[in-house]
């Protein structure tokens, strides 16, 4: 039962394939072929992503980052926070408690805000994303997200300051 829940998405896809194969064998075969080709094409990069992410997770732990974030940091601190944000890996919600600890320990709101903002970049995933969308697309997205992340941090601080 636990396995069933854990792999519910995978099982759902398998059942969909079986049903569609009975109804539309030819089209489903094409879909399957395309999925497998895509998988083989992207698997090497995906393996790199996973191992690079685990390297970052161990060697650039958020606790290391914490040292660089004081309340007195100016714009430079916000930019630094934004750059760190691009390097953090893992799902965002898992990191929420940690970010909150940063705030409690005296990190500037703008720094944490920028970090959450640029977290959307996910550096280890960039080559993977570019494999699908091309480098021009990803370069523009990364540059704009970095800029917006910094702005988002500063705006969050400005907006939330009034309520403290």
């Amino acid at each position: 039962m636990k396995m069933l829940k854990k792999y519910s998405f995978e099982i759902l896809i398998a059942i969909t394939y079986i049903v569609l194969f009975i109804l539309f064998p030819q089209k489903t075969l094409i879909a399957f072929k395309e999925g497998v080709i895509l998988l083989l094409k992207m698997l090497p990069i995906f393996i790199c992503v996973v191992f690079f992410s685990s390297f970052i997770a161990v060697f650039l732990s958020p606790k290391t980052i914490q040292r660089y974030m004081g309340k007195e940091t100016g714009f430079k601190g916000v930019v630094l926070g934004a750059i760190f944000g691009t390097l953090i890996v893992g799902p965002l919600w898992i990191l929420f408690p940690l970010f909150n600890t940063f705030l409690k320990k005296g990190a500037r709101l703008a720094v944490v805000g920028a970090m959450i903002g640029t977290f959307a970049i996910k550096t280890p995933w960039i080559p993977y994303a570019a494999g699908f969308l091309g480098w021009p697309f990803m370069t523009i997205t990364v540059v704009l997200t970095l800029g917006y992340g910094i702005l988002e941090g500063i705006l969050m601080e400005k907006i939330l300051k009034h309520y403290d």
Binding site: A31, G35, N100
Partner: protein, 166 residues
């Protein structure tokens, strides 16, 4: 393109682990093990996602995609993709192939970018958890800013790549 990307990335990974081993053998081992575990954990999901993309490509007609987020839908295409991306969400490994297949099916670059940005930046499903950690004000402010950011960044991406925001 993909091959070179993989080769260069592979070299980066090898360099990182060479540095890791030099710095601390035990930590390097932990990182490598962690990577292996993650790989096995994520592999079934990524296989399923790619098979889903195959289905999407074979069964969803271009017309459907174009009507929802294609050229000629104007700002509605942007709004549609922003709302979709916000509500759906999920592992980042799935959003990029999904974006690619949407582009192939006739979605505009701006709409695709907005869809992916809002998927990654806004956390609708995880919002209750975010509120429990940061409080309502912080969470709402962050998600509203992220929502508008996703739209602005996506439209600018479209503008730069195609000369059109829609």
């Amino acid at each position: 393109m993909n091959t070179w990307g993989a080769v260069i990335y592979g070299i980066i990974v090898i360099i990182s682990y060479t540095y890791a081993v030099k710095k601390s053998k035990s930590k390097a081992q932990v990182a490598f093990k962690k990577g292996g575990v993650q790989l096995l954990k994520q592999l079934p999901f990524i296989i399923a996602i790619f098979l889903l993309i195959g289905l999407f490509d074979a069964f969803v007609s271009k017309n459907i995609v174009v009507t929802i987020i294609g050229r000629g839908r104007g700002f509605l295409s942007i709004l549609n993709s922003a709302i979709f991306g916000t509500i759906v969400g999920g592992p980042v490994s799935s959003v990029y192939p999904l974006g690619a297949v949407l582009l192939k099916k006739g979605a505009t670059i701006a709409a695709t970018a907005v869809f992916m940005n809002s998927w990654i930046m806004v956390g609708f499903i995880t919002m209750p958890f975010e509120i429990s950690v940061f409080g309502k004000r912080f969470t709402l402010t962050r998600n509203i800013l992220a929502f508008f950011g996703a739209i602005v960044i996506g439209m600018l991406t479209g503008l730069i790549l195609t000369g059109s925001v829609l």
